[in-house]
């Protein structure tokens, strides 16, 4: 099971890196959305997979009798999902605003912050 999920995660990473390397901000954003999902699944897989066992503690004992799924990776993923979702929402709005202001989503044409034709630095007084 881990192997299958690892392969899937690998495919997600490959796809997201392909998208992030493109020149348009909207495709980069899609890449980031897939990347965060890939990360969450890789954390899930790294925390070892367990088939569904109800984590019930019977009367008279203090730990579940069978090994249950590790809750920590799930807690980590939950945190990571919330954080990455909110940051993704922010970046989405930011990119949309930049698209409105600059009139383009091509990274090659977004050159406001680094104008390509700056005059050369003076060599003397």
């Amino acid at each position: 099971m881990e192997v299958a999920l690892a392969i899937l995660v690998g495919c997600f990473f490959a796809l997201s890196i392909y998208l992030i390397l493109s020149l348009h901000t909207i495709r980069i954003l899609l890449g980031i959305a897939i990347l965060t999902n890939a990360v969450n699944m890789s954390i899930f897989t790294a925390g070892r997979l367990t088939r569904e066992v109800p984590p019930i503690v019977p009367d008279g004992s203090y730990v579940p009798l069978e090994a249950t799924a590790n809750p920590l990776p799930q807690a980590l993923i939950l945190t990571a999902i919330v954080i990455s979702f909110s940051l993704f929402a922010f970046v989405l709005v930011l990119v949309y605003r930049a698209y409105q202001e600059l009139g383009t989503d091509a990274t090659t044409e977004m050159v406001e912050a680094e104008p390509p034709h700056e005059p050369a630095t003076p060599r003397g007084y």
Partner: protein, 527 residues
């Protein structure tokens, strides 16, 4: 549910049964204070005129607490506080050693001075969107990152400071600024995501997230491809955060676009968080990385130093000159990490403190130049020396400091790093340090000569010095320059702290022992 004796035994193994000592609460104040004051500002959002004073009051309190924290760590050693009383490694623990406390102190001082500057700089209209709340939240995130002893918690603090920095970098929202913000936001989001991948894989390998516990378990792992991959991912993520070559391009593309006070704060704090995280990772998680990684970090450090300063030399826009100088400084800190000896790490720590102070001051000084002349290109500037002698002098001091000339703060870390690299026969590194120093002197000398010394060109607009009389704008700059001169003339206290901190990084046994002593101490108390 009735609690039997077995229950009590289980609880005793996993939880402290008494509240932490009152003095230990000092550990969390650097996080709590900014959060509380940010909340107060949000509650007072209609009374815009109160935002500045509230933020400044919060920062003063924060600086005092951080001074107390540095003193406590220096006298008592590493302080650990377990959140919700869960004994490490079960819960999250804040673990503060000298490096954490020192960095948190300098960060709060930078926060205080930028808050004073912003109070004089920003008009009331632009404060409505909560500039000071973002400022406090950013410092809360930075302090949390410095103080935490848990790798996933470190990721969370990275995100806290990231979202606060997003709020600040789009503040105002001009065309140029949105363009810069897109680069900053996407690349920093990617860097934190890489960090998260590395954290997940590290958890898969060691089964723990507590730094001290990881440090105990890593030696049991077989060295090989997985360890090397996780180590490279961590280094990639933090090098991207720290703006090391070849991952530095976002920094000079974005730091000059928001209001200058934001640039100053970012230049002082954010890249250093990446460097601090590298300190922790190389000290606790991968104390003996594969040789290839050492070589790569060394090459990256040297390339960052030299290429950063060459970039600065090529710029016509003085705001971007400063961006490239931030990058160049990161190279020197990485060199300390790459060399890895106690002396080299000491140099890197002193350099980080020096760089936080000087880069913030340079951004503020550049902003004052821009305010006075309404120009920021070297081709158009000139004639400031005649009308603004104080600013000229302050800028010259900062130029000397950033180049590493005596008697200012830049001299000492360069000497320590030079000695450390010669001690391990890293002649290339020593050469790179000296070359960077010379090139920085040329860059800053030229900036000073063209901006201040050169007479004003015919037809240039009048220079408006009214801004330079404003105490709230000049006082932070003067304070930062005074710190630079102070460290330059009396480096002994900083050397002592940095030496202790570096010793703690090369031999983290005290850090590890302090975390697990907490558990052992409780076990003894139970019997």
């Amino acid at each position: 549910m009735a609690t039997g004796p077995a229950d009590k035994a289980l609880v005793a193994q996993s939880m402290l049964n008494e509240a932490p000592a009152l003095s230990d609460w000092l550990v969390v104040t650097p996080v709590i204070i900014p959060f509380v004051f940010a909340a107060i500002i949000v509650m007072q959002r209609q009374r815009v005129d109160r935002h500045g004073p509230i933020a400044i009051a919060g920062f003063v309190l924060l600086v005092l607490c951080n001074i107390g924290l540095v003193n406590a760590v220096r006298s008592d050693g590493v302080i650990v506080m377990a959140m919700s009383n869960w004994i490490p490694p079960f819960g999250i623990s804040f673990t503060v050693d000298i490096v954490s406390a020192l960095f948190a102190l300098v960060a709060s001082v930078i926060g205080l001075l930028t808050a004073i500057f912003a109070d004089g700089d920003l008009d009331m209209r632009s404060r409505r969107y909560g500039f000071f709340a973002f400022l406090l939240l950013l410092v809360a995130g930075v302090s949390g990152a410095f103080l935490t002893g848990d790798v996933f918690n470190l990721y969370v603090w990275f995100e806290v400071l990231l979202i606060a920095s997003f709020g600040l970098i789009v503040y105002g929202g001009g065309r140029e600024q949105l363009d810069g913000a897109v680069r900053y936001a996407i690349l920093n989001l990617l860097a934190t995501t890489f960090f998260l991948i590395a954290t997940g894989l590290l958890y898969g390998m060691t089964g723990t997230l507590n730094f001290a516990d990881i440090a105990r378990k890593v030696p049991e792992l077989t060295a090989g491809a997985p360890t090397a991959a996780v180590a490279s991912l961590f280094i990639l993520a933090f090098a991207m955060k720290a703006a090391a070559f070849p991952l530095n391009f976002w920094l000079p593309a974005s730091y000059h676009t928001p209001p200058a006070v934001v640039g100053a704060l970012f230049a002082g704090l954010l890249t250093k968080v990446g460097v601090y995280a590298l300190f922790r990772i190389t000290s606790l998680v991968f104390p003996t990385p594969p040789a290839i990684i050492d070589t790569v970090v060394m090459a990256v450090a040297v390339a960052t130093m030299v290429i950063g300063v060459l970039g600065a030399l090529a710029q016509n826009d003085i705001r971007r000159v400063m961006g490239f100088l931030v990058v160049s400084g990161i190279g020197s800190m990485l060199l300390g990490i790459a060399l890895g000896t106690t002396e080299a790490l000491m140099g890197a720590i002193i350099y980080a403190v020096h760089s936080m102070i000087v880069m913030t001051a340079l951004y503020l000084a550049v902003d004052l130049i821009q305010k006075a002349t309404a120009r920021f290109r070297l081709t158009e500037l000139g004639g400031l020396y005649a009308v603004a002698p104080l600013l000229s002098t302050l800028f010259l001091v900062l130029a000397f400091a950033v180049s590493g000339l005596p008697p200012f703060s830049g001299l000492w870390p360069k000497i320590v790093l030079l000695r450390a690299s010669l001690a391990v026969d890293a002649h290339w590194a020593a050469f790179a340090i000296l070359l960077t120093g010379i090139l920085t002197s040329i860059t800053m000398g030229r900036v000073w000569a063209l901006t201040f010394w050169r007479p004003r060109s015919e037809g240039a607009p009048e220079i408006d010095t009214a801004m330079l009389q404003d105490r709230r704008l000049m006082a932070p700059l003067i304070a930062l320059v005074a710190l630079t001169v102070g460290i330059g003339l009396f480096p002994a206290p900083l050397f002592e702290l940095a030496g202790l901190g570096a010793a703690g990084l090369t031999d983290p046994s005290e850090y590890i022992r302090a975390v697990f002593d907490l558990a052992a101490h409780v076990g003894v108390a139970e019997q």
